[in-house]
Symmetry: C2
Subunit: 216 residues, 2 copies
Amino acid sequence: MGKTERKERERKRRKDRILNAAISLIEEKGFEKTTMEEIAERAEFSKGTLYLYYNDKSSLFQAIKKRALKYLHDQFLQILQKDLPGAKLVHEMMITFLDLIHENATFTKAMMLYGKKSEQEVEATDGTIQEDCIQLENELLMLIVRSLQIGVQDGSINTKLDPKLLALQIGFQMNGMIQFCLTGSNKKGLQILDEKNMDLPDLMEQFLQTQFSQAG
Amino acid sequence: MGKTERKERERKRRKDRILNAAISLIEEKGFEKTTMEEIAERAEFSKGTLYLYYNDKSSLFQAIKKRALKYLHDQFLQILQKDLPGAKLVHEMMITFLDLIHENATFTKAMMLYGKKSEQEVEATDGTIQEDCIQLENELLMLIVRSLQIGVQDGSINTKLDPKLLALQIGFQMNGMIQFCLTGSNKKGLQILDEKNMDLPDLMEQFLQTQFSQAG
DNA sequence: ATAAAAAATAACTCTCAGTCATTAACTGAC
DNA sequence: GTCAGTTAATGACTGAGAGTTATTTTTTAT
């Protein structure tokens, strides 16, 4: 009798129920305005119960980040399976990223905000989730590196840079774009994109082309 | 008798006194752990007084951001005065930025964190400071554009891209690097930089070189 | 010297994260 | 079935800290 396993599964279910409640509320009212009380209500638990599943509010929010990272990781792995030139692999990965930003602001915000918590302010946050996130981030980076290496091999990528460094730069560019999306509407940047009739995916493509066509 | 002017000046003084108290405390204990009570104490005011000068905690933090942006703006203007090739101007601007990040984490954090406040969660925040920050950010961007245009003119920059778009990309890269610094120590990225014996300024230089040497 | 205005205060309210003592539900042994 | 033990859930409680306001102190003008 798989007693413990079932227990585990049910626990996971409940954790997810809470997480979903949190996400839907955050989408409606924003991060800071969402209270544990409300999350509990929507998940049909009492407040106290939430703390049986997540150490604190911060952990709960980090779990959202983790979910987003897991999604990206899955997608990246699938992309890497495809039999495409390396340059195209990287491009698809970046588009996947941008799509996520575009259609799910909550995930994006979670990805940026909860994970900073510098030394001084870590304290309570559940170490495990934090670790998982770091691990996932690293793996995402390495999947980009893999794609770059493939691209260098197959000739679709010409660069003077080491793939790892290039991956880092691409990561920075990606992060910069995310930040740009979060900072919101009022922006010279949007105006520029608009007057050139471009969007972020276009700009990302431009960027990658520049990076990938460096006469060695 | 310049009565009102003196009043204004004194008011500004007191605002600064509060701001400095806030910055020093944040440096010691981090953003979220710093309370209005403590800030008041250090500034030698009572808590209530703080609210005569800043609408709320969020405004106070945004004022820190504003100060950082003002500093950068001044620096950028000075750089632009110099009689240097455009490519060098941009490079110096970026180095200035990276220096700031490096030596003043508080400013950096403020720059990233307080300014997101998306629609849902703006509410009380002092509109004026917000506006000022947006204005400053836009001007920073335009100063980069100016430098790029100079570079295209003097031939130090070869690019297929429009200067405005290129400025945007450089801005993204910069933001990505800031984010990287904030996210803190535990990082594959640091390891990569380490094993290649590089730091962020090096990587930025690489990045700019790539961008500036695109055969047209 | 005094009325008016400006600046500062500290006691207060209110919201919300996180805790804990208690209760309910389930599980298995007999 | 029922009782002991374990796991899950509850909601009343505490404490911290943001923001408010009625009151007092200080400054300025006449």
